[in-house]
């Protein structure tokens, strides 16, 4: 069965306009370490998974991997 598994990469990030406390924290921490010239920072997450049926990925994203209320996501088959 394992040869039928496809690798999928899902990228989840905060929707534009939604407050991103993690990104804010990084944005404020960088200058403290001497890195100047940093504009906005957004922190998202990357999920890699193997699935048999890639037509389910969209639903997985919507119902578990991302919170569509405040996050946007995109995914691709990588192998």
């Amino acid at each position: 069965m394992s040869e039928t598994l496809r690798r999928v990469r899902v990228l989840v990030r905060p929707k534009e306009g939604i407050l991103d406390p993690q990104g804010e924290a990084v944005r404020r921490a960088l200058p403290a370490l001497g890195f100047g010239g940093v504009g906005s920072v957004h922190v998202g997450r990357l999920i890699e998974l193997e699935v048999e049926d890639e037509s389910q990925v969209e639903d997985m994203c919507r119902r578990l991997l991302a919170n569509p209320t405040i996050e946007e996501y995109e995914w691709e088959v990588i192998g």
């Binding site: 939604i18 906005s40 209320t69 405040i70």
Partner: protein, 728 residues
């Protein structure tokens, strides 16, 4: 979009728009319309409830600040005072439960902070639909996570609250957060802007497009469209909230502020116009000085943004530099965004040009709608209950176990174990008792705090239920040994445009007010949440009361658990009033929500509760618990489980055994007293009704010939994990 479409899309009615035009004597521009639309929403303007709210008594001996400020304040003693308020976050929590609940906690904490008080306790009063529904379980789990997710890192203990389930809340959960703050009397701050030329400083997080039109959103019925409005969701940042708390307290301590106000619904607009209206001055805001999180924001967006973790301060010009220095040391954003002016208007400037300008008092003075109070048709039908039709069960052991394991009666441990209820180490009695008891370090003083709501009773009898809600809070505080002082409330109702709902609102307020007067507990703050409906059905009318009481000596308090074998167990309060009407038993076992619950006898209620409280304060009684949802049998089971000591009692008034065991009336308190102290206790109870019903001891619960259960059996049923259904 033409003008008509514009103001309607902002939520203003034709009549309201006409009023705006009349007040201004000209056509408002879009920015000005936006200001009116948010300030005249139900959420900010209390259009439908204001005329009714005046009924609440709001004065009393200990009250330092009544309604109209960010929170009410009462005096405790030795120069200490408590600020407290409860507020709803129902609609945001229905759309995004984690962030909705989290920002609800953050918002109420900032209200307390604005009074110059250190936030020291949070309570959450939660109501959801049928837990068998998957979406309801999701909302419940995420709301509880959100409360912990904000409350735990921000360093304010979550010490109590309620969780209740009823189909009426499906799709429209109630998420009410209460915060209590501690302050020195002389540190009390108010939000009145004064001093023409003083600067207005925005403290805290940068402003983004969070919750644009959240205030109008909160006043609309939830519908499928709410999904599409999702980008409105606000996200909480507890670490930023923590920094804001510490910085504001330092600014307060060093007397650097003239006035302070939380930014909540309707953002800068609401805060600035209220501060200006209270002080009889004007405020100018330069939107291009507001630090922004995203580019391209229009002045109207800046003005109504509901970005979290922000406060607005009025500061004398010569202290501005010092304020900015303090903020910088905390890593807290701070910017001078405007000044106090003498023109009485909220004036918005952008690029040196006036983008809009309206008298602040107009914004703060939303139109008020008074409606006719007509008894709805459903009431008579709902109150009808023929007890003869209700079969008497054969196996009371099975009935009691079934009730103890019901989501409305089982242990709330699986909820509160997710909360940090000990942080700051002032929690003497945490969640799970009749009320939370807190100490004030460096003194013998303590205070107790509780939230109560009885939606089902208010549905069956709005006035009696309203009174019963206040009486229950009073009784709960008395059971831990605290003298009830004052209360805050959150009125959760459906659409006031429906006559049945308006009736519920008006009569509940009447019942609550009567109880407040009889019990001597004024209302010092509150919040109204209307339009709690989905698919046309309203929630149960649910006024939630948050009451605060004082303990002169915090070491003399009581808890519900039986502590010793051989104690005399007695009921204080009138017997023979228990009824199946509106009882949990009637709903859980017989599937009915019906009958007219007994109205509280307020004078007797007060006398009994006060006696018990004095016994506890004198150190004669350390075990007390009120008989509430589930009746006598459930109350005894809770006391046995909590203390790990069994109890044997007799019942024998000759009434139906299910009425004796599970009937509800309010007004009764169970106490357990060591035999050698009983004579003293009996003397102190002279003049109020009491009755010895049995003694503690044995390995379980025995009630007459009806119930005989081991502690393990009780624990097994009661200790249900409310979240376990997730996987099972």
């Amino acid at each position: 979009m033409n003008l008509e479409e514009t103001y309607r899309s902002l939520g203003l009615s034709d009549a309201e728009y006409a009023r705006v035009r009349e007040l201004l004597g000209r056509t408002p521009n879009f920015l000005e319309l936006s200001l009116f639309s948010v300030m005249w929403s139900e959420h900010c303007g209390y259009k439908n409830s204001r005329p009714l709210l005046g009924r609440f008594p709001s004065e009393g001996g200990r009250v330092l600040q009544g309604p109209g400020e960010n929170a009410g304040v009462v005096e405790v003693g030795e120069g200490w005072a408590l600020a407290f308020k409860v507020e709803s976050h129902n609609h945001p929590s229905a759309v995004e439960p984690y962030q909705g609940a989290a920002t609800g906690v953050g918002g109420i904490i900032r209200d307390i902070l604005a009074m110059g008080a250190r936030p020291v306790a949070v309570l959450d009063s939660l109501r959801f639909g049928d837990p068998a529904d998957g979406r309801v379980r999701y909302l419940f789990r995420e709301v509880v996570r959100g409360i912990g997710g904000y409350g735990n890192p921000v360093g304010v203990p979550t010490v109590g609250g309620e969780v209740e389930f009823a189909p009426a809340y499906t799709g429209n959960p109630l998420v009410n957060a209460m915060c209590v703050g501690l302050l020195r009397v002389e540190d009390l701050m108010r939000s009145r802007a004064v001093g023409v030329g003083n600067r207005v400083i925005l403290l805290g997080a940068r402003t983004g497009r969070d919750g644009i039109h959240g205030a109008t959103f909160a006043s609309d019925e939830l519908s499928g469209e709410s999904e599409a409005r999702r980008p409105n969701v606000q996200v909480g940042d507890p670490f930023a909230g923590k920094v804001l708390i510490e910085a504001c307290l330092e600014l307060r301590r060093r007397d650097l502020l003239v006035a302070l106000q939380d930014l909540g619904a309707a953002g800068i607009t609401s805060s600035a116009s209220e501060m200006a209206a209270k002080g009889g001055v004007g405020i100018e805001i330069e939107t291009d000085r507001v630090p922004l999180r995203e580019g391209g924001m229009e002045p109207w967006e800046v003005m109504i943004s509901e970005s979290q973790e922000r406060m607005l301060a009025v500061v004398e010009p010569e202290r501005v530099e010092e304020v900015l220095k303090v903020a910088a040391r905390y890593g807290l954003g701070a910017a001078v965004v405007g000044r106090v002016a003498d023109h009485g208007e909220l004036r918005v400037l952008c690029g040196g040009e006036v983008a809009g300008s309206v008298p602040a008092e107009y914004l703060a003075d939303a139109p008020a709608y008074e409606r006719e109070v007509v008894e709805p048709e459903y009431l008579k039908e709902a109150q009808r209950l023929d007890v003869e039709e209700i079969p008497v069960p054969g196996d009371f052991n099975a009935v009691l176990l079934r009730m103890l394991s019901h989501p409305n009666l089982c242990s709330r441990r699986s909820v509160w174990e997710q909360y940090d209820y000990q942080v700051r180490t002032n929690t003497v009695v945490g969640p799970g008792a009749d009320a939370a008891v807190m100490r004030i370090k460096g003194t013998k003083l303590g205070y107790a705090v509780v939230t109560d709501g009885r939606g089902k009773w208010c549905y069956l009898d709005p006035e009696g239920g309203g009174a019963a809600t206040v009486a229950e809070a009073y009784r709960n505080l008395s059971c831990v040994g605290a003298e009830p002082v004052a209360l805050t409330n959150c009125l959760n109702f459906g659409s006031p445009e429906k006559p049945a709902v308006y009736y519920q609102l008006a009569r509940s307020i009447e019942g609550m007010s009567r109880a407040c007067e009889a019990l001597g507990t004024p209302v010092v703050s509150g919040n109204v949440s209307l339009y709690n409906e989905t698919s046309g059905g309203a929630v149960y009318p649910t006024p939630v009361v948050g009451m605060v009481g004082v303990l002169e000596d915090v070491s003399c308090h009581a808890t519900p658990g039986f502590g010793r074998e051989g104690d005399v167990v007695a009921v204080v309060g009138a017997s023979g009033r228990a009824s199946l009407a509106g009882s949990e038993y009637l709903e859980i076992v017989h599937g009915r929500v019906a009958g007219r619950p007994p109205e509280p006898d307020l004078a007797l209620e007060k006398e009994c509760a006060d006696r018990v409280r004095r016994l506890i304060a004198e150190g004669l009684v350390d075990t007390a618990h009120d008989i509430s949802s589930g009746g006598l049998a459930v109350a005894l089971a809770e006391m046995a489980i909590a203390g790990g000591v069994g109890v044997e009692v007799e019942v024998g008034s000759g009434r139906r055994p299910d009425v004796e065991l599970f009937g509800e009336a309010g007004g009764q308190i169970l106490i357990a007293v060591p035999g050698e102290r009983w004579d003293e206790v009996r003397e102190a109870l002279a003049g109020v009704p009491w009755q010895i019903i049995g003694r503690t001891g044995g390995g379980g619960l025995k009630i007459g010939g009806f119930v005989d259960l081991k502690l393990e059996e009780l624990r097994g049923a009661y200790g249900r994990d409310l979240f376990a259904e997730e996987t099972g």
